[in-house]
Each structure stands twice: as C-alpha cells, then as structure tokens.
C-alpha cells in the first residue's frame, strides 16, 4: 500500500511518470505513449490533471503550457460494433 497510484485504470505510479519525463516526455501525450497513463476506461478523466501537474513540476514549465491530451473520438467508451456495424449492414 506504499505505492500511490496516479492513473488508477492502468495502475501507473508517480515514479512511472517521472521515468517517462526523464526519458524525454514533456506533454501528456508523451507520458501517455510511454506509460499508458490516461489510456484506461476513464480515458484520463481521473488522472490527466495530475499527470499535467507532475510534468509541470518536473520540467519547470508552467501549468498553462501543459495542455490536455489530444482529444479524439469517441469521448466515452463506446462498443466498437455500434460504430463499425455489428452486422452486415453498410454504415
């Protein structure tokens, strides 16, 4: 219970994020690609703000410069069959 999770969905710790920044990540997307933080079921709704704060703290950048991750469809978990067509109907 000593490890504090930042991204609960993917079980990513502060240390994981620190290593990603050490590896050159300066954005939420950079941390996301290296660690999978923000890639779980909630898509960063819980941890993104914390990840932004940790990046700002470690890089010395202002919070204003650390933008949220690139926003893509779908903004909520959606069954792929609903978007792609579960049956043979053309969509």
């Amino acid at each position: 219970m000593t490890e504090i999770l930042i991204c609960r969905c993917q079980e990513i710790t502060r240390e994981d994020i620190r290593r990603a920044v050490e590896d050159g990540a300066t954005t939420v997307d950079g941390v996301k690609r290296r660690t999978r933080a923000c890639m779980g079921l909630c898509q960063g709704k819980t941890c993104e703000r914390l990840v932004q704060g940790i990046i700002a703290e470690l890089t010395g950048k202002s919070r204003a410069e650390i933008l949220p991750q690139k926003s893509r469809m779908p903004v909520r978990p959606v069954k792929i069959g609903l978007l792609g067509g579960a049956d043979d109907r053309p969509v």
Partner: protein
Amino acid sequence: MRNVAAEVAVIGAGPAGLCAAYQARSAGADVLLIDENKLPGGQLFKQIHKFFGSGEHQAGVRGFDIAKALLTRVAESGVRVKLDSLVYGIQPDKSMGLLDAEENCLLRAEKVVIAAGAKENYTPFAGSTLPGVIGAGAAQTMIHINRVLPGKRVVMVGAGNVGLIVSYQLLQAGAEVAAVVEAAPRIGGYGVHAAKIRRAGVPIYVGHTISRAYGGTDGGGDCGAGAGGVEHVEIVRLDENWRPVAGSEFTLDADTVCLAVGLSPMTELIWMAGCRFEYIPAFGGHVPLHDHNMETTVGGLYVAGDVTGVEEASTAMEEGGLAGVAAAEALGYLSASAAARKKAEIAARLNSLREGPFGDARRAAKEKQLAAMARFCSCEAERGAV
C-alpha cells in the same frame, strides 16, 4: 448511418443546456437537446439546498424545484429532447457523431451549444484506490438520486462549498461525518454552510490533509464499501509550504472518504472542434475562449455553463440563456434589437452573480477570458486584412 438534423443542437441538459434550448426554441428555432444521462437536469436534482442571491436568481428556492420548473418550460416550448444519447465526437465543420438508442447517427446542426459541464477532481494518497474512497458528487448522487448511503462514517476532504454542502446532506441522510479536512489554511466555502456543520458537531481541520486510508481487510465496514474497504484514515497537519508536519498525524475511524477537491471543465468535444483555449486556474484549468454571445473561436459553436469555467448553477443558467438567444439571433429568429435587449438583461443578472467576496475572482477570470477572445479576434481580423 442515419442522418439527424436540427437548427440548434444543445449538448448537455443540465442548467446551462436547458436554458440555452429554451431560449432558442422560444424564439422559434428548431432545437434538439441531447444528454448522455437517462434524466435531464444535470446536477440540479442533487441540490436539495436553497439557492442564494436575489429573487431574480431564485434565491430561497431549492435546486430540484428549479430543475422541475425548467424542465416543464422546456417541454412546453417544444424542444426535442434525446436522453441516454451520446455525442461522441465533433469535427471542425461541427458535424457530430451521435449514438441514439445504440444507433450510430450523423448529426448536423447550424448552431451547436456545448454545455457538457464539469468533472470531479481526484487526489491521490496511500490507499486512495480502496473501496469507499469516492467523489463528493458521487456521494450526493447516491443519497439524493439512488437513496442509499455511501457509508456510515465519512471523512470529507475539502471545505469548499461542495465539501461543506455534501457533508451537511450526508448528516441529513443519516450518515456520521467524522471530520472535514481542508489543506488550505482557511475554509473555502460560504460561512453559512460551514456554520451549519460546525453546529452539528463536525470538526473542520484547516491546514490538514488526508495522508493515508487504511483498510482492505475482512473487517471493513458492513455498510457501503463493505469488507475490503476503508476502515480508518490518517490525517496530517501541513506547514505553510503545504508540507506534512512529521509527528502531527492522527487517525479517525471511517468507512468512507469523500473527495471534494474541485472540478474541471469537461472540454473534450470543444478541443476536438478546434476551439482556442486559455489557462485560467480560477475556472479549473484550460477553458475555451468565447465572446459576449458565448460563441467560441469556431463560428456557430457556442459554450455555456461549467464547461466555460467552473462556477455555479445560477451562472450556468444565465450563460445558457445568452447562448440560446445569440444562436436564435444568428439564425434570424430574433431581430438585432430584440436580441440586444434580452442579452442586456441576462448580462446584468450575470454581472450581479459575479459580485462580492466570492464573485470577484470569477468576474476577473471571466474578464480575462473575454479579453483573450477579443485579442484572438483582432489578430484574425489583421490576418484577414493582409
């Protein structure tokens, strides 16, 4: 893929979206109001306390009664409402992906109002993933919508208005509140809310934070989180640099920890549409630029309510009204003079909501946001002139 069309599409049926839809529809526009939840009203139905302010802001009226009246007006006005429906994406041309009763649709609207609201912030600590650690908003949903207690004995983290109000409502619902813990050196919310829970005997520890939640054994509380959940929490005092003071720790028995540590605007769709943003900490982070009509840097795309910067339901309703009037005017349903009159009335009410010791910071933040929009527009105009 089925096509769905509307003159005005409003995303989010909380206080801002309901007012936007009502105003646009009353002026004569065809309006489609969409919400991902099964019930409209947003957070209003969870607000059992009386509102503050003056009579024109419905002071003394409880949130759920405001919501009921608003829903009636919207229904009678002829707004088309789609619940349990999700706008899952938007393109820069404002065409949207809509899941309507599990059917994938292409939604097009001449004007789009995004009133998606805000989400609760999270704070990590040792044991913060144990069952029983929840958002204060989640606790409010459980007691007022689902009518179940999240636990028997609660520690509230955060003494802003949400933390104070939800603590009182948990007491009313029959839970015990062991303490309210606030990292800042003073209570953030209204004194009247703090006084109510102090009178009920709940201690408020300012300059303290939660350092750890213990539990995860079979001996966890038999209510709420149940076995395996939180059993007690450790509180620690913070020095003036927000550092924990060694040796100041104490523990409290609790089976539930509620986090009331602020809200952030839910801006994913607005980023996706390509709108410009400004970082305004008082509003909860990066917020979309908008003008006095609530229109963003993407023409025909309006924003209203917490998504423009976290404030209150009363401001959200006024901003929604502004967006609805502006969209109807842009579609030709209101003359410039009629729209100007309506907008001036709403703007005057909005200004009075952003006054006083709690309103001044929000007023300054809103002025910063509007100024950033004005700068953007003048840059665009210069670029266009070249």
